[in-house]
Symmetry: C2
Subunit: 338 residues, 2 copies
DNA sequence: TTGTACGCGTTATCAC
DNA sequence: GTGATAACGCGTACAA
C-alpha cells in the first residue's frame, strides 16, 4: 500500500521533482516533449499528485462539504444530486455527511469538513440545532457557506429557501375551496422557520376565508411517519376528528393516513389530507396524496451555484437569498366533499 | 479564514511546537500542569491539530470512504446509517459518495477517496461496473475493502451479502402456494450476481413445484419504477398478462402496479405482485406490497465491522463473506386467488 | 528550460 | 521534561 510520489517519478526519469510538477501544472515553461514523456511514464507508474499534500500547501482542497439532517426521505438525497451535478462539473468533489437531526453530530461534521480544508459548505440545519454561534464565526471569517431549507434568520449568508408560507397558504386554501371547514394542521417541531411559516400560511388562509380557527386546530406533531400515526391515533381515541388535515410534510400525512385506514376511516370522505415536501411516496400511496412539491434538484443546483459565486468572488461578496417556486399536486386525498 | 496552527500556540506560550504536540498526544512525558495550561490556551485560541497535515505524515486519515450506486431508494441510505453507527463510535469519519450507477463516476470516487488517504473503503458496485481490475489492484496491495450487496465473484475481499437465491425462491414459492401458476419474473440488469441469483431462485421454485417455465416467463426489466412501468405497459398492450409477477425489487414491482392500476386491472385479483429489497414504500402503497425485507442496518453494521477487522489486523487477514438473513413480508398484493 | 530550496502543519527522533 | 529538526508530498520563487 505504498503511494507513488513525485520523487519516485523524478528518480525514474532522472530529473528534478519540479520538472514533474510543472508537467502536471502546465502553466510554466516546459518543453512539450519532456512534458508528454513525463506524463506518460507517470501514468504508467500509477502516479497522480497527492491531493492531501496539495491541500496542505494551497490551504484549500477543491472539496465541498454537504451536511444534511437525514437521508431517509427522498428529499435530501435529491437535493444532493442537484448539488453534485453542478459541482462535479466544476472539478469539485462533494463530501456528504448527515447530522441525524442532532446539533452535536452536525457540529462535529462541520469541524471535520473544515479540518479537511474544504473550500465551502452547503448545510441544512438539523432540528436539534438551536445554537448557531459556530456558523456566525465561520461567516465572520468569510468562509463560503450556503444554507438551504432549514435555515436560520440569525445567519447572514446565502440561502436557498422555499416559500413555505405561500405554499402552505395555497394548500390550505385548496382544502377550503374543496368545501372543508374544520381543518387541522399537523405542525412540525417548534422553533424552526419552516414550521412557523407553514403554520402561518395555514392560519392566514383561514383568516382570508373568514373561517374560525384557534389553537385547537394546530397540533405540534413532528416530521416522521410515526409522529403522524401517534397524533392521529390520539385524535381518533378522543373522537376529535377534523374534516381535513394539512400536514407539515408527507411523512406525517402518511402516518395519519395509515392510522385512519387502520381504524376504518375513508380518505378523503371522512378525513381529507394534504402533505408538503413532495416525496416519491405521495403519488404511490392509497389514496394518492395531494402535496406541495418542492423543486429538489433545483434547490441543490442553486445552492451549489451560490456557493461557487462566493468562492470565486474572494471576499467582495453579498449574500443572496433565492426563493424557489413549487407546485401543488392535487390528488385523490383531498378531493371535493360530496 | 486563517487557521490557528501549532506554531501560533507555541509562540503565544513561549515554548516549542513539540511541547504543544506532546500536550495533544499524551503518550510522551510532559508535566501535567504545563499540559493543562497548553490545552486551555489552545482551546481558547481555537486551535485543533490539522488532520490534513497529520494524514500527510501518518499516511492515513482516520477516514472511511463509502461508495454507493444511488441514494434515491431508501435502501442505501439505510445501510449507510448502519455503517456510520459502527464507525463513528470508533472515531472514524465517514465520507460518502455516489456513483450514479456509472462505472466512470465510481472509479473517480474511488480514486478521490484513495487520494484522501482514507483508511478503508466500503463499496457497492454500480450497475455500469463491468471491469473490476482497479479493485483487484487495491486488494493486491492489501488495501482494506469491503463490498456489500452489489459484489463481484472476481474480487477476493470481505463481503456482506444477502441470500438472494433463497429469498427469491421463497418469494416465488409463496406465489405458487397462493395458487398462482402463470408467473412472470421482472428481472434486473444482466451481468450482476444479485440479478442472476434472484432469477435462479425464481426458476428453481418452479422446478421444485413442477410448474412449466421458459424464457418467456423472464423479462429483463431494470431497477427503477419507470422500468417496471415500461415493461408492464408493453405486456398489457400485447395482451400478455401473467397471474402474478415476482419483481427483482420494489420499484419495478411498484412501476408494474402503477401501470396495471392505470389500465383498470385489480391487484391481486387480476395480477398478483411480489417485490424484493424492502423499501419503506412497500407497506404504504395501494395495495400493500408483499416483499422480501433486507436487514439494511445490519448490512451496514456488518460491513463496517468487517472493515475494522481488516484495518486492525494489519496484513494477516482472511476475507470473510457474511450472509445475512431476511424476511418475507406477506401483504395484500399477493393474497390467495379466489 | 530546468534544478534547488523552502514552506504548508504535524509528529517522531534525537539531543539537551 | 523540553527544544530543535527531519520528514510526509507537493508547488513555486529563485537561481542557474
Amino acid at each position: 500500500m505504498k503511494h507513488v510520489t513525485i520523487k519516485d517519478v523524478a528518480k525514474k526519469l532522472n530529473c528534478s521533482v519540479s520538472t514533474i510538477s510543472r508537467a502536471f501544472n502546465d502553466k510554466y515553461d516546459i518543453k512539450k516533449e519532456t512534458r508528454d514523456h513525463i506524463l506518460a511514464t507517470a501514468a504508467a507508474m500509477g502516479y497522480s499528485p497527492n491531493p492531501i499534500a496539495k491541500s496542505l500547501l494551497k490551504q484549500c482542497s477543491n472539496q465541498i462539504g454537504v451536511v444534511v439532517p437525514e437521508f431517509i426521505n427522498s428529499f435530501f438525497p435529491e437535493v444532493i444530486i442537484g448539488i453534485q451535478e453542478v459541482l462535479i462539473k466544476k472539478g469539485y468533489q462533494v463530501l456528504i455527511m448527515q447530522s441525524n437531526e442532532s446539533q452535536i453530530t452536525e457540529l462535529e461534521n462541520i469541524k471535520t469538513l473544515e479540518n479537511n480544508m474544504i473550500d465551502g459548505m452547503i448545510v441544512s440545519l438539523s432540528l436539534g440545532t438551536q445554537n448557531v454561534e459556530y456558523y456566525k464565526n465561520l461567516i465572520a471569517q468569510g468562509f463560503p457557506l450556503v444554507l438551504f431549507n432549514r435555515v436560520s434568520n440569525e445567519l447572514d449568508t446565502s440561502k436557498v429557501v422555499f416559500d413555505d408560507y405561500k405554499w402552505a397558504f395555497f394548500a390550505t386554501e385548496h382544502l377550503i375551496y374543496q368545501g372543508y371547514k374544520h381543518i387541522f394542521h399537523f405542525g412540525g417541531p417548534s422553533g424552526h422557520i419552516f414550521t412557523q411559516k407553514r403554520k402561518d400560511g395555514f392560519i392566514d388562509a383561514h383568516r382570508k376565508h373568514k373561517l374560525p380557527i384557534d389553537d385547537n386546530n394546530i397540533i405540534e406533531t413532528g416530521l416522521m411517519i410515526a409522529d403522524g400515526e401517534r397524533v392521529m391515533e390520539k385524535l381518533i381515541n378522543e373522537g376529535n376528528l377534523p374534516d381535513a388535515i394539512f400536514a407539515v410534510n408527507d411523512p406525517t400525512a402518511i402516518g395519519a393516513m395509515k392510522m385512519l385506514r387502520k381504524h376504518g376511516y375513508k380518505i378523503p370522505n371522512d378525513v381529507a389530507l394534504v402533505g408538503f415536501t413532495e416525496s416519491s411516496l405521495a403519488e404511490l400511496i392509497d389514496p394518492p396524496l395531494t402535496s406541495v412539491a418542492q423543486p429538489t434538484h433545483e434547490i441543490g443546483k442553486t445552492a451549489a451555484r451560490l456557493l461557487l459565486e462566493q468562492i470565486e468572488s474572494k471576499g467582495i461578496f453579498v449574500p443572496q437569498t433565492v426563493i424557489l417556486n413549487g407546485r401543488l399536486n392535487v390528488r385523490e386525498s383531498s378531493m371535493k366533499l360530496k
